[in-house]
Symmetry: D2
Subunit: 442 residues, 4 copies
């Protein structure tokens, strides 16, 4: 990972100098030690011997800006109008983020005008006619107990010019965008357009993706909850597999480009015998292929559990044109149902009776309220997003890196997807846990 | 319901007179008041004015034998060998039943030879080569915490003659069969064959079906757990529906012939707007059809939740030959995916944008461990099954009727399926809760 | 139980003739088969040979009025004002009852004026100054997801005259009272006073007690949820006990006069070795006492789990004057802490090292939202309470009896507490499960 | 924190050179890229400008050894005998650690002799007579579903000489000790004694403390599960508080020296108004004290929730000699019951009626099975502990630091307790969330 990260941009754009005393100063007079200084940063790479080599060479060490409250802020809370929008698919914790943004803006900084845009980017486009939602503490006080997003969401692009028109017309000074890769790209374009028009408007993103695949973000919120829930399906698959002679339990989990949910759920309930992810190719046929490995497993133990990420094995759909989804992503072949059918065919062909149970928990996983871990994480992300925005930072996202909250330029984060490194300790642990062979011929 | 029930058989066959003192007598000397007398029974119908009419006419009142420990038993515990088999699909609580059978036989009656047959009826058939499992308290002490069945299961018929050969060869005196409609029919045939061969072997069934569709059984075990879990999918569907503009959440639940899970889950989480069950016909098209009702609901509230039992709307597959499953039941058309596609087509045709999320929790629901309610229920069923079997009763199942445990002749229970009466208070409550119209044209 | 029940009153008082067509008639034209006729009733005792004896003697069979919608109602929904009040301790499902009352009154009967009285009976008394809460569907739509009561509650008596003054002043025609034994007694007095003043006001109670100890009520709402949660504490106690050498896990559960929670939780997680309830006396010392039985158990298995209901063993506090609580009930001695101390002292005295862990889950159990089973049950109770009230019934409570919803005169239900019969199958099952001896000397 | 950490020892002692090829090499031929080189390390401090200053000064940067599999190992798996012991109080995940140790030793390294010592350090001492438990994969396959420890545990010291005698007699080469601060100190002494006797025995600790208070360990296993469960009690307290007029919910949580559970649970369910921890002093009386702040809160909102860590407010017991517990820690005053009584007295004194509900979830929290997050974490800790031990490292513990697994010398970790820094962002977040004032007079 080091190679790529060496070249990334780490400086956060700003709307201008922060000159106003933070209201926190008055509120908690002896709190000044909490403030973050502008030169506080966190190293991007923290491993020896890399560090030693850089120091020896005199190469400056890359670092990210530390998140947290600043003593001086850019916006006058009394005059400021803030906007919040949630985009893309659901994920546990969105309401936690909304709640904590509102609570922090309102109670800590004294901002009184906070608006929610409804149904994602559609909320900025007049033709959809979605109303603006006024957000006050009472309205959001209990929403962390609910899954989903009280603001609604949608997929797909909207015209950046129209979005900025709306921000301008409504005089929004601080916009919080909660969304995944597509939303981050939109946020970058919106920030560019704002810059071009010389508006005083900051755009702060809180990265959201249940797949946990955003570059430079250690872990996305909702991921822990999703993994926990995914283990339920693995338990179900295992129970079904064990109860049948030559029983096979097959579970499809989310993960378009990255197999993090599949891998962590496998580590989270250690009953999985084969974990298939987009990052690691596998064969079905042949002496090293999945079918033969599965056959041997059944001969040995009479049951087997397979977890497959939705983006795995897409080579089997290579000759099909599946189109794109509303977000513009290529539609994936349904690897879960494909595997279920192919496995059945294979064992029919060798006349070995099996019982296969296929489980696709789908939306059950992503529509949950956050668990305690994600409640806490969402709170920190949102509080730091507010601190950053109030200080006039823009075109950035809040992230956790080496367990510390930092600011990341959006453009750095959208360079690439985060994926599982097949040579990492993480994947090695999965292999140790499942005991699965390479599943690749020759 | 009264009409049918008037004519049912309520007398339980017996292997012969029970002459042995129950070991409970010695164990708990002051416990005699717990014993059930042979003339204790529970009325089948308990409603006025029906009862008054019968009394007036001098028609005898139908009643079921009361379950519970008898002072005299038929089998000598020291010599007795017992068998347990679990058949058909999984259901929460099977392991509870196995555990309680073993504990009751072992600790209360002092039976020392208890065997589990593996993988359902296959376990009796030599050619499959499944080993017999010796069941002792230590082996089953913690299995109630696990879903599934430790004995394994299978679907489909096996030769009754071969089954009885095995019972005879192994000298099994008391066989407990845990299974659904098919298993009950098999149990009746096995008992007949035993009778014919004049073997001293009792067959006691504990009815198991997640669909809760067994006649003369108030509620089957595992049903409460299944309903509780099913509400999770409804919550997910509701969360997804609310989060999208014109969002539709569609959940398919189990229920081949009876919509009990769909109906109770609808009452268990009151966010459902349309509940579709096999017992109540519905149209898709036309002014009263589902599509139009759904359209109106979306116009009014911008989201909708639909729950459909897997056996509902089978008229839409009338012209397709779908074959039969391994249990010999006709395969059902996949009403869930069908509805998802048809609803999308309909709204595309009227150019109304919607977002539909389809959830099929399938095996997640039935592979769970029992909840506390089902733990308790399974314990009572199994304890009463043992009391009945030890007393020499046979060809019967244990049931709960008017909240009391009773003995039911298997042949009476397999006459027909239990279904939801569309004129009952139950279905009326569902209608009150969903607010759904009749969904039938003209 | 038969003896007492033979003599109870089963006739429900009424405000007067029901002459108005039920709005259900218009709303669901083909629904008339759902209506309950006035002569429909459910037998109180349903067991043979009791029934046969009565019939032979010509003694009329006692029966309760069947609950459900009536074709004719007493109140004009357009003019009716309804009140709801929740009293006493929390219990899972109170918000479900409130929600279903409001939904049924509003959507099914078209009642538009529904008010909540705050903080129990205090809500009727002007000096407390609690505001009245207007209840509409939007306000209660999601409250079933929350524990507690949105109306607040309080313990203790208030002046009946003042309460009726308030009902009169506000012109309340239909009052729903959700509460336990004390509340039922208050409801009876309020109904009497209303009668005396010849007001047109009906009082319908929905019995609430987490102890499940109300006479003539098969099961109170919230009880199933409480039992389920209580098993968690037993699991914790068992885990702690097993992890220590001579480990003892001791759990105190609710149950002032009746040990239902303790008994059902014991059946719900079969790891309990001693279950102590108010209905069954036990000794600590002596050859048959708890200490010696516990010592033997530890010698044999090295761990033990004890469940004690809060009202058990009160003879050990006989010489202490503990006063009364705000509801006027005598304060109980803390049997949990007492046992913990006495057990430690005993084993110290015989120099046997033990590790005792004491768990008192207290309010964790009663402040939960209802589980699916209780959601469903609360819905039925409330719907039937509304049907009864609209039909002009009064001074009654809704109950489930032999698994059927019925009307019970409040005065019949408050005659005595429901307790566990030590000679019942229930208690026998507990003994079979724990394997505990009599715990009584001589 | 920087000051202390600058001076800590970071070098890991070793039994001798690792010369044997790791079995991983043969098993997964293309896996060599997973191996950790001996010079791979992780910086202790990763913050600018501290790093820049050190580099400028030429001060070497402190770093911890990176955990993970080594290409060369010290022990011959065929001959090696391993021991596992679990000490101190329960904590979610202990069984996960045991399971993963056994699985990793057995399946990855091929070790065949693994023994569990029963009931903590007592297991090494002959006079207790506890048997040794042979640990094989089948025995531990499902234990991660259970709370507690299958090996049992105990508190208190045992003679180090006797412990090492036992290790020597049994020829244990690799001892894994799972325990808290006391166990770590014992482990250091055992390792010293082993060194002195020149035995070939490595001691690897896996730090366990539900309080999350071990220095140089970012987060201890089980903590996330405990926090999640603790939020349940907060929800109960909030529900009870809201349901009463001037309702107060008071929850006591674990945390002897450190308030991490209290603080994180407060962030995990944002309904807490006062969070009291050992690290931050507070007054009860006076204009800034808790009583007055509580009174104001009640006047404003009519309910309040207080969370108190068990070690908070110990100044109120300063004049009492409470003795020490079996582990030798001073017994704490029961701040929960003390606060409950004092708050009641205070409000009685000002004649303001309140309702206070006190909840002490105690062992319910620590006896749970791990949640998915802790399952995963325990797996990584144990796998890395095995890698370290096989490589001949000793007198160390496995830890996570900056989200990376590292080796820490035990002696460095026991220097001090980890506590909450009242000037940290963590505590500031708690204050922002509760809105509580300083609670200190003058």
């Amino acid at each position: 990972m080091i190679e790529t990260i060496e070249k990334i941009e780490t400086q956060i754009p700003s709307l201008g100098p922060a000159k106003i005393d933070s209201p926190i100063l008055k509120k908690r007079p002896n709190v000044d030690r909490h403030f973050v200084e502008e030169d506080e940063r966190v190293l991007v790479n923290i491993n020896e011997p890399y560090i030693g080599r850089m120091v020896k060479e005199g190469t400056p060490l890359l670092s990210f800006e530390l998140a947290g409250p600043r003593q001086k802020i850019y916006f006058d809370p009394v005059k400021l109008k803030c906007g919040i929008v949630t985009c893309g698919g659901l994920c546990p914790g969105i309401n936690d983020v909304i709640r904590a943004l509102v609570m922090e803006l309102y109670h800590v900084y004294g901002v009184r005008n906070i608006y929610g845009f409804k149904y994602g980017l559609q909320g900025f486009i007049p033709k959809y006619g979605h109303e603006l939602v006024e957000l006050v503490p009472e309205k959001v006080a209990s929403i962390h107990e609910l899954g989903g997003t009280i603001l609604g969401t949608s997929r797909g692009h909207q015209d950046v010019g129209e979005i900025v028109d709306t921000l301008d017309r409504l005089n929004i000074g601080l916009l919080f965008m909660i969304g995944g890769d597509g939303t981050l790209r939109a946020a970058a374009k919106i920030a560019d357009e704002i810059m071009k028009r010389r508006l005083k408007c900051s755009v702060i993103a809180i990265p959201k993706t249940i797949d946990n695949d955003i570059f430079l973000v250690e872990k996305t919120f909702g991921f822990a909850t999703a993994v926990e829930k995914a283990t339920e399906s693995i338990r179900a698959a295992h129970t079904e597999a064990v109860a049948a002679f030559n029983g096979i339990g097959l579970v499809k989990l989310m993960g378009r480009c990255s197999g993090f949910i599949a891998a962590f759920a496998t580590l989270g309930l250690r009953e999985v015998n084969f974990c298939l992810i987009p990052e690691v190719d596998f064969d079905l046929e042949g002496p090293q292929g999945l079918f033969e490995a599965l056959r041997q497993r059944l001969e040995r133990r009479r049951h087997a559990v397979i977890v497959v990420a939705e983006g795995a094995g897409q080579k089997y759909f290579a000759n099909q044109d599946l189109g794109v989804d509303p977000s513009g992503n290529p539609r994936l072949g349904d690897i879960g149902r494909f595997l279920a059918e192919e496995i059945k065919k294979y064992f029919a062909s060798i006349k070995m009776p099996i019982t296969l149970k296929y489980i696709d928990p789908s939306y059950i996983i992503r529509s949950l309220p956050a668990n305690a871990d994600d409640h806490i994480y969402c709170g920190f992300l949102a509080q730091n997003a507010v601190h950053a925005g109030m200080a006039g930072k823009t075109a950035m996202l809040v992230s956790r890196w080496h367990n510390t909250y930092v600011h990341i330029p959006i453009k750095a984060a959208v360079q690439k997807r985060k994926t599982i490194n097949p040579n990492s300790g993480l994947w090695f642990s999965v292999l140790e846990t499942t005991g699965q062979p390479s599943l690749k011929n020759g």
